[in-house]
Amino acid sequence: MSAIHGIDGLDDWELVVGLEVHCELATATKLFCGCPNQFGDDPNTNVCPVCLGLPGSLPVLNHQAVELAMRIGRALNCTVHPSVFARKNYFYPDMPKDYQVSQYDQPINADGWLDLPDGSRIGITRAHLEEDTGKNTHAGGSGRIHGADYSLIDYNRAGVPLVEIVSEPDVRSPEQARTYVAELRTILLAIGASDAKMEEGSMRVDANVSVRPHGQAAFGTRCEIKNLNSLRSLVRAIEYEARRQVDLLGTGERIHQETRHWDEEAGRTRAGRSKEEAEDYRYFQEPDLVPVAPGADWLARVEAALPVLPAARRETLAGAAGLAATHPGVVMAVDRGLDDLARGAIAAGADPVRVLTHVEHNLAVEGAETLGAAALAELVGMETGGALTATQAKTVLADMVATGRGPAEIAAERGFEAMDTGALEAIVDEAIAANASEWADYVAASAAGDDKRLKKLTGFFTGKIMQASKGQADGRAVNELLTRKRDGAA
C-alpha cells in the first residue's frame, strides 16, 4: 500500500478508518416498552411512562430486539455472548432519563468480521443493543443547533431499539468505507433486522478517521466524524478529513482528538466537542434489568433462519460464471438481488460475461427482478450468435423488462438485424480513408504501445463508424476490423 487509495496527492500517507454504524431494529415496539416503533408519527404520541422516563417506571426487554441483535451478530460472524445492560450517564434533553441504557463491557455480540466484495475483510469489534434518543428540532435563529433560540423535543424515537456495530480500524480508503457500509446495509435488509435508511436516520454512520505516515505502526490521533447522512457524505467527509489531517501534520501541527461534524453544503468537517477531556459516563450495570443469556437452542434457531448472505451468494455466482467473486458484474448482481437470475441464465447456456454485463449496466431498472432467466439467456444467445448488436440487445432488454415479451418478438418488431460484415467493412474503410492522418497516428500509437493514445483514437474511429452505420454496427466487430486493418497496414 503506497498511498491513500482514491485520494490524489496523499502518496506518503496511510488512511485508517473505523466505522460505528447505528441501525434501528425493525421491531413492532420499542426496546423496553410496548410503544410503537414507528417513524413519522405525530410528535409525542408513541410514548408511555417507561420511554418518557417518568419516575417509578421500569424497563422490560423486548424479545424480538434480542433476536434481531443475534441475527446481526451471526450475520457478521460474531460470537453471541451472555450480556448485561449498563447505564451511560450524561445529561441531554432528548434522553428522558438522562442516561442511556446500552451495553458496555459485556455486549451481546463480539469478535466478528465482514467480507467485502473487493475481497477485503473488516473486523467487527462488537455489535451491541442500546436505546435511541428522542429528536430535537432547533427553532428560531439559524435553525441549527448553534444559534437556535430554543429547541423542541419529540420523544417518539426515545427507546427505539438500536444495534451499534463497531468495526475494527481496518478500513483504508474512502471507497472501502462506502463498500463496507453498503454491504452492511445489504445484510441488514437481507436478514430483516432494519430498514437501514440513512436518509431517515434508521441507519447512522460515524467514522473514526486518522492518518499515519506509510510504514508507521502506531495509529495517528483520530477524529470522529458525525452527521454522515448518505454514502456520498461518508466518502466526501473521509476524503476531506484525511486531507485536513495530512495538511496539519505536514505543517508540523498536531491533530486534536475531537468530534467533527460533516457539513454537506460546505463540503467540510467542523470541530465539535474536544474528546481530550475524557467523558466520564460513569457506566454501571443497569439494576432495573437482568442479564440476557440466549441458550444454545435459541441461538440455533436464529442461525437456521438466516438467509444466504451476500458474500456466499457472490461465491456461488462467481463459481457458476467462472469468474472471481470480486468481478464487478458478480458484485452488482448480488447487490441488485439479480444473482439468481444471472445464475439461471448462465445455467441455460448464456455467455456469463454478457449476462453479467447486462446485469451490471442495463438492469439497474425497476422490474428487473421480473425478468425470466430463460428469456435473458435467449437474448444473450441472439447477441453472441450475431443476430443482435450490443446496442440492439440493450434496447431489446429494456423492452423485455417493460413489457414482459420475448427477445425474438421484440427484435423482429423493431427490425433489428445484425449488419452484414461486408457492409461494415466498407464503412470502416471509408472512415480510414477520410481520416488518413488519424489513422497514421493510430497505427503509430499501436506500434509504440502508447495505450492512452490508442484508446483515444479507437474511440474516435468507433464514433465515426457508429455514426455512419446509424448505430447498427456491433462495437466488438468494429474493434476487430480496426485491429485487422492495422495489422495489415503495419
Binding site: 421491531t27 413492532a28 415496539t29 416498552c33 410496548g34 410503544c35 410503537p36 405525530d42 410528535p43 409525542n44 404520541t45 408513541n46 410514548v47 408511555c48 411512562p49 418518557l52 422490560v60 426487554l61 423486548n62 424479545h63 424480538q64 430486539a65 434480542v66 451472555p82 448485561v84 450524561y90 445529561f91 441531554y92 434533553p93 432528548d94 434518543t133 430535537n136 428540532t137 432547533h138 427553532a139 435563529g141 443547533i145 448553534h146 437556535a148 433560540d149 430554543y150 429547541s151 423542541l152 423535543i153 419529540d154 420523544y155 468530534t259 465539535g272 466537542r273 467523558e279 459516563y281 454501571f284 450495570q285 439494576p287 434489568l289 437482568v290 442479564p291 440476557v292 443469556a293 440466549p294
Partner: protein, 105 residues
C-alpha cells in the same frame, strides 16, 4: 485484575468536578461543607477500600434472574395532552427547552 489501592483524600476540586457532572450548582461555602462531609463518609468507607478482595466476584444485583423478556406487542400509549400538561414548557406538541449549546455526545 488487582484491586486499586484506596485513593487519596477527597479534594475541593474533585467535589466541584463531581457537582458539575451531576448538574448541581454549589456556592464556595457549600463546596467547603460538602467537601468536609463527603470526606468523612469516604473516610468511613476506607474500611472497604482497603480490603484485599482479589478473586471476589462483584454482585451488582441480589437476584440471579436471566432472560426476563416481553413479547414484541404494542401496548397502550399515554394521552399526549396529559403528558404535555406536566411539562414546564411546550410548543407545537413538543417539549420546549432553552437553546442547547453542548453537543450531543
Amino acid at each position: 485484575m488487582s484491586d486499586a489501592p484506596p485513593p487519596v483524600a477527597l479534594t475541593r476540586d474533585e467535589v466541584a468536578h463531581v457537582a458539575a457532572l451531576a448538574k448541581l450548582a454549589v456556592t464556595p461555602e457549600e463546596l467547603d461543607t460538602y467537601t468536609g462531609q463527603l470526606a468523612a463518609i469516604l473516610d468511613h468507607a476506607a474500611d472497604i477500600a482497603g480490603l484485599d478482595l482479589d478473586g471476589v466476584a462483584p454482585t451488582a444485583h441480589p437476584l440471579p434472574l436471566v432472560n426476563v423478556l416481553r413479547a414484541d406487542e404494542v401496548r397502550a400509549t399515554l394521552d399526549r395532552d396529559e403528558v404535555l400538561a406536566a411539562a414546564p414548557a411546550t410548543e407545537d406538541h413538543r417539549f420546549r427547552v432553552p437553546a442547547i449549546l453542548g453537543e450531543e455526545p
